[in-house]
């Protein structure tokens, strides 16, 4: 592999490493310390996202444990697995958003805008509709 091909990868690795370091400690980015009330509000938002992640995991567990076998093979397991994975993604996204918001506050920039809440809402709605349809079809067949 020649150097010109290697260079973007090295740059990408450095970028990722810097991102992870900022996840550990956003003060590494520099800037000035913001009013701690804003930092605490940012931390509470992060914790709310973590609770959302835990709720998604709990929902996945509940579906796996309590929803009866559906006629569509592995639909129950698929929905439970998707919810649990979504919970993991939300947890990672929470710390990323927290670090980016903290960084923006330190530099006096506008807070980062994210499409993630809309995407999450759509995914949850689609999952709920799928589960509703599967349970409804099951009940109709049984009747």
């Amino acid at each position: 592999m020649c150097f010109s091909q290697l260079r973007p990868r090295v740059r990408f690795n450095r970028l990722m490493w810097r991102l992870v370091r900022q996840w550990f400690d956003p003060t590494l980015a520099g800037g000035t310390t913001p009013d701690y009330r804003f930092s605490l509000a940012n931390e509470r938002t992060f914790l709310a996202w973590i609770r959302t992640a835990l709720a998604l995991v709990g929902g996945g567990l509940a579906i796996a444990a309590f929803v009866p076998d559906l006629r569509v093979t592995y639909l129950r397991e698929a929905i439970a697995g998707a919810l649990v994975l979504l919970g993991a993604v939300v947890a990672i996204r929470a710390v990323d958003h927290w670090a980016r918001s903290e960084r923006a506050m330190r530099f006096g920039q506008p807070l980062p805008v994210s499409r993630f809440p809309a995407i999450l809402a759509i995914v949850i709605a689609v999952g709920a509709l799928a589960l509703f349809a599967a349970i409804g079809a099951d009940l109709l067949r049984a009747a």
């Binding site: 550990f24 567990l61 697995g81 903290e102 923006a104």
Partner: protein
Amino acid sequence: MTNHDRDEMSTHRAPEWPEGSKPEGRKPQGRQPEPPKPDVQQELTLLSWRRVSLGAAVIVLVAGTSVLVHRAPLPTLALIAPAALAWAGILFVSYRRRAALSRQPAAAHATAPLLLSVLAVILALSAGGAALVIAALGAR
């Protein structure tokens, strides 16, 4: 919210008036809500950390109960073990963060949020894996 307040919010700084420079002519229209006191913010944050610990406890309880009820085999218990460890880790991180916040409201965040996220992911994957195994066993 006035334009001035928006400007103050946009820079994420607490509004401060230098000594003797507070404008007298500007009367507030209607009843203006007072900014929350710092100790309220601190209490809310402590409460949020407690809620997260409780949420993790509920998940471990649900996963553990399903393992016991379905008399799951040993490999499932091996999947639950990291979930229990992650839960213990979440309790520990939460306790440390709450202790730091109680001592000093403006305590630095250090690594608490990242650790919490990692532990939540471990909890999710471990408990989720166990639940899926149990569901697959139940389907047989």
